[in-house]
């Protein structure tokens, strides 16, 4: 549990959000994250996020699937239990392609989903702080992390100047935790009052 202070700005429109992100970055503030109701194209570049390695992981998972399928079938049909099926050679590669393909896709897909969940810290019973409920509805929410030298009121007025329609300061858990919302809500009321 590491509680940190965040300045949260809500935006109504992508068109305002993009220049705002650029200005905030230029001013030297550290963007914790931007929460949007839908995937916004190009926002990752605007925020300067590095390209995800998820596809490399996907390729490797796929490779694992291919290898598993081919080696297992080779072992079964040539070593362990060779059966003459329709006079085909025991090592019947063309007939194995569908299974190899399926296993490749299965491993790549499941592997990528699990990696994605791991990277995003999503799992059953794992909780993260919601900075603004309307981030899931119609607001673009930019969260800026306050460092030791950050002047909050200055930052708040800066957020207003770049087009935020609503700005507030929150003290919140930065990472994830395992717990229940009804108890946690109490915790945050206390911490935010303090």
């Amino acid at each position: 549990m590491a509680l940190k202070k965040f300045v949260v700005g809500c935006f109504e429109d992508e068109k305002v959000l993009f220049p705002a992100v650029a200005k905030v970055r230029k001013a030297g503030y550290k963007i914790h994250d931007v929460y949007t109701p839908f995937p916004v194209h190009g926002l990752d570049q605007a925020m300067g996020l590095r390209e995800t390695s998820l596809h490399t992981a996907g390729f490797l998972f796929g490779l694992i699937g291919t290898t598993t399928a081919v080696t297992f079938m080779t072992w079964v049909f040539t070593k362990d239990w060779p059966v003459n099926i329709g006079g085909k050679p025991n090592f019947a590669l063309p007939a194995w392609i569908p299974i190899t393909f399926e296993l490749t896709v299965l491993c790549a897909a499941v592997g990528m989903v699990l990696s994605f969940l791991y990277i995003c810290q999503l799992a059953p019973f794992v909780k993260r702080h919601h900075f603004h409920a309307r981030a899931t509805d119609d607001r673009f929410v930019m969260v800026i992390e306050c460092g030791e030298k950050t002047n909050e009121s200055e930052l708040s007025s800066f957020m207003n100047s770049v087009g935020a329609i609503e700005v507030n300061t929150q003290v919140a858990e930065e990472g994830w935790w395992i717990g229940r919302y009804d108890q946690d809500q109490e915790l945050y009321k206390q911490t935010n009052i303090a």
Partner: protein
């Protein structure tokens, strides 16, 4: 300075002339030494190579019109920034249609039995399988349907290009709606006819009837996939060329990325069809079906057979998989050239085993005709590009393309 109008540069002209010169020389030598030769094999080689190249490149340039029509029907605006490139490529269809028609006239009326053995009436009379197919595989049906097909491709293609010119002038909202409706109607006409030709009958007649005893229901789709992916590669090459020459200022990596996705996806689609055709025949192992793969996989064409798979599946699959490589001009050009060559080889192995059997050759005439067609494409596409502004500024979808983001 925005360059709206393509001007054929001296370098472009020089390379066109070199390719046309080398190719033309190969063609003339081919006519003299192969076409007019007394040797039956040399004549067969002459006509097979012409058949391979004329059908392949005709279908490849026609794939551009197919691309325009599907994006029109799907209301896809992203391609507007470079739409004039596939348009220019498709303007070669009438020219290549005439060339293909000449080849067919030569084969059909020259009674080249070694190309289409169903042309031999004597032979057909004693052949129950060919007798059963005589309603389709006869010179009259072949020529009439081919001529109708080529005319409709050329006519509807020309209509689509003419419609596109309207977008160079300013349009109000009513006119825009009418414009989109007109485009939709003609694109739909083209697509339906495309399905009846490239999607089914035309590959049966032109290519599958070389092995007239054999048939495959995958064949037309296989041919379509082959030529469509090569067609997209050709579009990508011209887009990259124009971009390098400071044209098409609104085309960005995003558009190239989508072209790359098309090349990647349809390479995989081609493999899927290739495999579906192969696997069923391999598994059923019925002699009348395996006859098609016997010479290709175990006979003289073994090398080409596997090269075909590597060059058309493995390499594009691995090279284009990464997001970055689809957005890279060099990789895209390299893979595009590879894909076009690969599918040219694919057509080679579709035609030759049925005509040349094990006496095939892959040397000056084959590559000469490839060079000749490359020169023709450069010449006519260059001319087509220079006729119109490179961006239809008043097309209702232009803005969608300019802000396109993948």
């Amino acid at each position: 300075m925005i360059k709206q109008q393509f001007e054929i540069s001296a370098g472009y002209k020089k390379w066109t002339n070199i390719l046309l010169g080398v190719g033309g020389l190969a063609f003339v030598l081919g006519v003299v030494f192969l076409g007019m030769s007394k040797d039956e094999l040399a004549q067969t080689r002459f006509w097979s190579v012409l058949l391979q190249n004329s059908t392949f490149f005709l279908l490849v340039v026609n794939a551009s019109m197919f691309f325009i029509c599907i994006t029109t029907l799907a209301m896809g605006g992203w391609q507007m920034a470079f739409r004039r490139v596939p348009e220019a490529i498709s303007s070669v269809v009438p020219v290549f249609s005439i060339l293909a028609l000449l080849v067919f006239v030569g084969i059909i009326f020259g009674h080249k039995h070694s190309i289409y053995h169903w042309l031999d009436k004597e032979h057909v009379a004693h052949d129950p399988i060919l007798k059963g197919k005589v309603a389709v595989l006869n010179p009259t049906f072949f020529m009439v349907w081919t001529v109708i097909t080529l005319l409709i491709w050329s006519f509807v293609g020309a209509k689509m290009r003419k419609l596109s010119s309207q977008a160079d002038e300013n349009m109000d909202q009513e006119a825009s709606k009418k414009f989109i409706w007109g485009n939709t109607v003609w694109a739909a006409t083209f697509i339906v006819f495309f399905g009846l030709t490239v999607g089914s009958t035309i590959p049966w007649l032109w290519l599958m009837s070389i092995d007239a005893h054999w048939y495959s229901t995958m064949y037309s789709w296989y041919t379509f996939a082959s030529t469509f992916v090569a067609g997209m590669a050709l579009v990508a090459i011209f887009v990259v060329y124009l971009k390098n020459q400071d044209y098409l200022e609104y085309v960005s990596e995003e558009h190239l990325h989508d072209l790359g996705k098309f090349m990647f996806a349809f390479s995989v689609f081609w493999t899927y069809l290739w495999y579906s055709q192969f696997m069923l025949i391999w598994y059923a192992n019925i002699p009348e079906e395996t006859i098609y793969f016997k010479p290709r996989m175990q006979g003289a064409y073994r090398g080409i057979f596997f090269l075909n798979l590597i060059i058309n599946f493995v390499l594009p699959f691995l090279l284009l998989m990464r997001r970055g490589s689809k957005r890279n001009y060099t990789t895209m050009t390299f893979v595009a050239v590879l894909i076009i060559l690969g599918h040219w080889v694919d057509f080679y192995q579709m035609v030759m085993p049925g005509t040349m059997h094990e006496h095939y050759s892959l040397s000056w005439f084959e590559f000469g005709m490839l060079v000749f067609y490359a020169g023709l494409i450069m010449y006519f596409v260059g001319r087509g590009l220079s006729k119109k502004p490179l961006l239809a500024v008043h097309h209702p979808f232009v803005k969608e393309s300019l802000i396109h983001h993948t």
